[in-house]
Symmetry: C2
Subunit: 245 residues, 2 copies
Amino acid sequence: MSTKHLSKGSRMPMGNKGKLRLFTNRFCPYCQRVQLVLDAKKLQYDVIYVNMHNKPDWFYQISPLGKLPALELENGDVLYESLIIVDYLDEKYIQHPLHHKDPLKKAKDKILIEQFSKVVNTMYNMLMLTTTNDDNESVISDGLETFEKELNNRQGPFYGGMHPGMLDYMIWPWCERAELLKLFSSYFRSGVLNKNKYKKLMEWKNRMNEDTAVKKTFIDTETHIKFVQSHRAGIPEYDLVNISV
Amino acid sequence: MSTKHLSKGSRMPMGNKGKLRLFTNRFCPYCQRVQLVLDAKKLQYDVIYVNMHNKPDWFYQISPLGKLPALELENGDVLYESLIIVDYLDEKYIQHPLHHKDPLKKAKDKILIEQFSKVVNTMYNMLMLTTTNDDNESVISDGLETFEKELNNRQGPFYGGMHPGMLDYMIWPWCERAELLKLFSSYFRSGVLNKNKYKKLMEWKNRMNEDTAVKKTFIDTETHIKFVQSHRAGIPEYDLVNISV
């Protein structure tokens, strides 16, 4: 299986019938969400890396709207939208459940994931589009405070309890990239990135770093920075990581 | 219980402990989604109508981000985000299930709901913001074609089969408002709104009009137009409908 990101002009890889196949990109945080869940549930799957900047023509046969991540199922059906895929996986494969069984706890976690999307959008604007505005600082600090407080109110080191659950994995890709905000440290005024303010979150991050699923897709900050720089330069370099599958 | 929309300066209504309470607005399609599900599942609930344009201060005690719809649960907890609320209701109250039991069918319906949001956004831009662009026509016609085709491929007159299911109810609020696009009939060039092209959808719409849950929140096109006009004029008139609860 190729570990390079496939671009326009590439051939469509043959699939293994009856096996899950994830169409993904190493630097796409939404794609990472799905891979984290596949790994946390210890599912077997093949991976196809797709160049999002220069998508192969055949990819539109897989995902008609050209959306990544896309998960090809055993029967050939394809699902997309990260949150829809992970909910499907958690319902279909009952081992290592990630969502709370209690509908209310589950709904509250989904609201937190939704709330976190403000942080996600702000990080995207700052890191990828290099647009900053006066709201960025408060959106990031409000987000971190909400999640610090939430962790304080919960049992166990993870949002999911003694093990990472769906909420932990859904916010992780952006937390892995948190150090990138240092690129903007001159922009932040009031110690938003002061780690002492977010003790619980920092402990959580250290523990997440040790999680088996997290380790499988982990990319270090230095490499993330290289990628962001290449993206800003208009030529995203997706093949910065040697991948052994 | 007041049937008027409550504004700044109003008193916070007392709740009935142990009873669901929906904070909603008569002309908000996202709010309507939740009410359709409450009614389809034949749940008992109180309704508080909130003026979205001039929200009461007390509303932020209920919904800290000021979001509508908000559902106060029996234990005082509050949920928001229409799709999160309806999923919660369908999981918590197992009577009259609306989602498919099969995780794959459920996921596919959720993808269609997500796809439909393009139509939703376009309708909002056209009707409320009076912004039009060249994409609007194709977004609306692509959306209608997708849903016409989907209905052709399914058993039964509804997306949910013999009865309306989650997908039917989630798209309904915008279908109820479909005739409003006539306001823009001069804008559409190629017969996008030609009913003959969407025979299945038209049959579906007629049947949906007869559904008990749909009837409970139904507002006729003339009243919708009055509301849109008041909204465009900057003074949304929420109390255009006499409500008997």
